[in-house]
């Protein structure tokens, strides 16, 4: 009988009631272990660049204006929210929040920018540098850039003193517009 089966169906549907979330009108927070937008704590960050080394989408960019200033830029538009930056951070300066409501009309809205003061040696006035054992690091010291500005990837260029020309040249590091 088709009618009894239909009635059965209706009863079956009535049993659970309304299951639909009232999401945009009522809040529905993500579970605690959800990996959403990462946040930087600029008081804890020492500017080691480990997060940018480990970023799989290379969305954390490091730029040195001069000897003492380092700018870390997090470009959230291509972040895959893997959470590796928070894992490797030695100072626990990165926290992965559960924010997921990131929809915007502008890609610049999901960026985060840190300006850090780098500690220098008391004797020579230069930054402490790591052991330069491999060729890439040695090239790095000489201001070698191993990625282009257009793709907004990692750029490292250090000068001993604040260089106005370099600052002016790299001031507009925004994404190229079409």
């Amino acid at each position: 009988m088709w009618l009894t089966s239909k009635i059965k169906q209706v009863l079956m549907v009535l049993k659970p009631g309304v299951v639909t979330l009232g999401y945009p009108f009522t809040p529905h927070p993500a579970p605690e272990n959800f990996r959403g937008q990462p946040h930087w704590d600029h008081h804890k960050c020492v500017g080691c660049g480990a997060c940018s080394n480990h970023c799989s989408a290379r969305c954390i960019l490091v730029r040195d204006y001069c000897q003492e200033i380092r700018v870390m830029l997090y470009d959230g538009s291509r972040c895959t929210y893997c959470g590796r930056c928070a894992d490797v951070c030695p100072e626990k300066a990165i926290t992965i929040s559960t924010e997921f409501e990131l929809a915007t009309g502008d890609r610049e809205d999901v960026t985060e920018r840190l300006e850090l003061f780098m500690l220098t040696c008391q004797r020579c006035g230069r930054c402490y540098d790591m052991e330069n054992t491999n060729a890439i690091e040695r090239l790095d010291l000489r201001g070698y850039r191993y990625d282009s500005l257009e793709t907004r990837a990692l750029i490292r260029k250090t000068t001993d003193q604040f260089d106005r020309e370099l600052f002016e040249a790299t001031k507009n590091y925004q994404r190229p517009v079409k």
């Binding site: 999401y23 945009p24 929809a103 915007t104």
Partner: protein, 176 residues
């Protein structure tokens, strides 16, 4: 402004055309998840259609690969205007981890103008609903760029000094 325009041009319902441009299928599963009874977007009048000619909105998921690049453009042109484009997932927003690989144009914005970006890898179904609600003007935008400084740097002093010089030009003119 865009949400007002969307309200005006799409007063009743949005019909979606879903365009996979080389995504890993994660975002596509989430899009289908949004259409299920649990996250019911049909209460906003949203419906998935098969042809771009029937649609108002195009959902782009995936970094636009080179083979799909002309097809995406074609599908976008087939949409009757006014039209909206949603970039869903990190790949459509900024290219994901493939932003500079050889076979990828790197994001939906490189191929077509995108109105709304929904980052996430993949975005939660709630995030997609939030993006849709943002387009319909039901919720407010929450994301904003963050800028933090440890202390006042010489760079700021330099900029301040330059601004001061520029501002003081008028006094110099008065002196003459």
């Amino acid at each position: 402004m865009l949400s007002k325009l969307a309200k005006k041009s799409f007063p009743k319902s949005l019909w979606l055309y879903h365009c996979n441009t080389g995504a890993c299928n994660g975002c596509d599963i989430e899009i289908l998840n949004v259409l299920t009874p649990y996250y019911d977007v049909e209460r906003f009048g949203i419906k998935l259609v098969a042809s771009p000619r029937h649609a108002d909105v195009m959902l782009v998921s995936g970094a636009v690969t080179r083979p799909t690049f002309p097809l995406v453009k074609k599908a976008f042109e087939a949409l009757p205007s006014p039209k909206l484009v949603f970039g869903i997932g990190s790949c459509a927003t900024g290219g994901g981890c493939w932003f500079d690989t050889y076979n990828v144009t790197g994001g939906a914005f490189k191929a077509i103008p995108v109105n709304y970006y929904i980052p996430g890898c993949p975005p939660r179904p709630e995030a997609i609903i939030y993006g849709v609600a943002l387009a319909l003007g039901l919720v407010d935008k929450k994301a904003a760029p963050v800028e933090m400084k440890q202390m006042e740097f010489p760079i700021d002093m330099y900029e301040q000094g330059k601004a001061w010089e520029e501002r003081n030009v008028i006094y110099r003119l008065l002196e003459d």
